[in-house]
Amino acid sequence: MAGLELLSDQGYRVDGRRAGELRKIQARMGVFAQADGSAYIEQGNTKALAVVYGPHEIRGSRARALPDRALVNCQYSSATFSTGERKRRTHGDRKSCEMGLQLRQTFEAAILTQLHPRSQIDIYVQVLQADGGTYAACVNAATLAVLDAGIPMRDFVCACSAGFVDGTALADLSHVEEAAGGPQLALALLPASGQIALLEMDARLHEDHLEQVLEAAARAARDVHTLLDRVVRQHVKEASILLGD
């Protein structure tokens, strides 16, 4: 896009943020009473909803049951009204399947699946509004939903996207910044140990810059963790006050 300055000389981005600054995050746990766990998150204008069922008996073919671990089944779907142009997506299309697979890999690394052999955990994520960073918002929402369901996890999984413009790494890209075509990296991190659950990038980036971008994404993911941690603690505190024992 000619004339669109992703990073001004004073160091401000298109929406007025600094290079390493996150968008405003608001999250809520326990939004659905019917599901075992549920959560809703807003990262700037990106809104995602996650719902978790499980662990429960494997539905469908019993043959898929793993004798020593739980099966994690993730499904991603994007609402027709989530993008600027209304687009009807079929259920099994390529992007949904790929996202579902990535989410599954991420959560298989974090959930302690050995504790629930021969059962199944379902994670359904829906993006209600997509303004960049949809994978990150989905992972963050799903983490809160899994916590709400009481399924044991190694640690939080916090995700953030990062890009690279004019020699500076940008954290938490919005749709405008993603559409500009520069390299983008999505990182899902387990903050306490610093282990990476998933790292994804499909663009061309010189390897000298990789460390800088990775560092920016990791720092942003840790900031996300601080926020999610606060949300979970508040939720647990309220619940234990109401339970009163």
Binding site: P55, E57, S119, P191, H235, G244
Partner: protein, 248 residues
Amino acid sequence: MAMEMRLPVPRKPVSESLGRETKKHLVVPGDTITTDTGFMRGHGTYMGEEKLIASVAGPVERVNKLICVKALKTRYNGEVGDIVVGRITEVQQKRWKVETNSRLDSVLLLSSMNLPGGELLGQGVLVQVPPSLVKRQKTHFHDLPCGASVILGNNGFIWIYPTPEHKEEDAGGFIANLEPVSLADREVISRLRNCIVSLVTQRMLLYDTSILYCYEASLPHQIKDILKPEVMEEIVMETRQRLLEQEG
């Protein structure tokens, strides 16, 4: 038919004064509970490089040398002696698969149907609640003075049914009692069901006394009004008051 619609309102934060004064140690996954290796690890924790780390979000419970973290909401984990209410999902050759809100379906063998233990239930209403809200008590079968009986399953399935007039000796097998239930009984059962649902939304522990107090507090309102948010808050607040008075 009248229908009521409301706009969403911002949720009021829970006031601290509602609870007792005990400050519990709350943890979230990834938090280190202790670096002391002398403790045994219970549910909700795991061992990671010399320290005990939490795997669920909730309060830490310590019983002598055993540390565990109790998650707020989990699927039911069976224990010996628990009473559970289940829903039959599958009929196989020699056994039935029963859904009990746990992580795997339970099995009920046909041979155990006539033993005291497996009992098929007739007409009534099933309410599903989170298992952590059912209080552990000596007995889970309650005949409430308002005219209905309730079975509080430990797995979170609650069965409300009209009190049978006379206890009959089951001559083996199950004969479905298909007599229509009277209107008065039906009203009592619906009122009880709505009361239980409102107690659950306010996250109160369920046991015979709390359900009974809630029922009595709801009598001035119409049955369908009980599910309205402000009525729900009012009757649960009243129930809480009465329970506190009764204890202290």
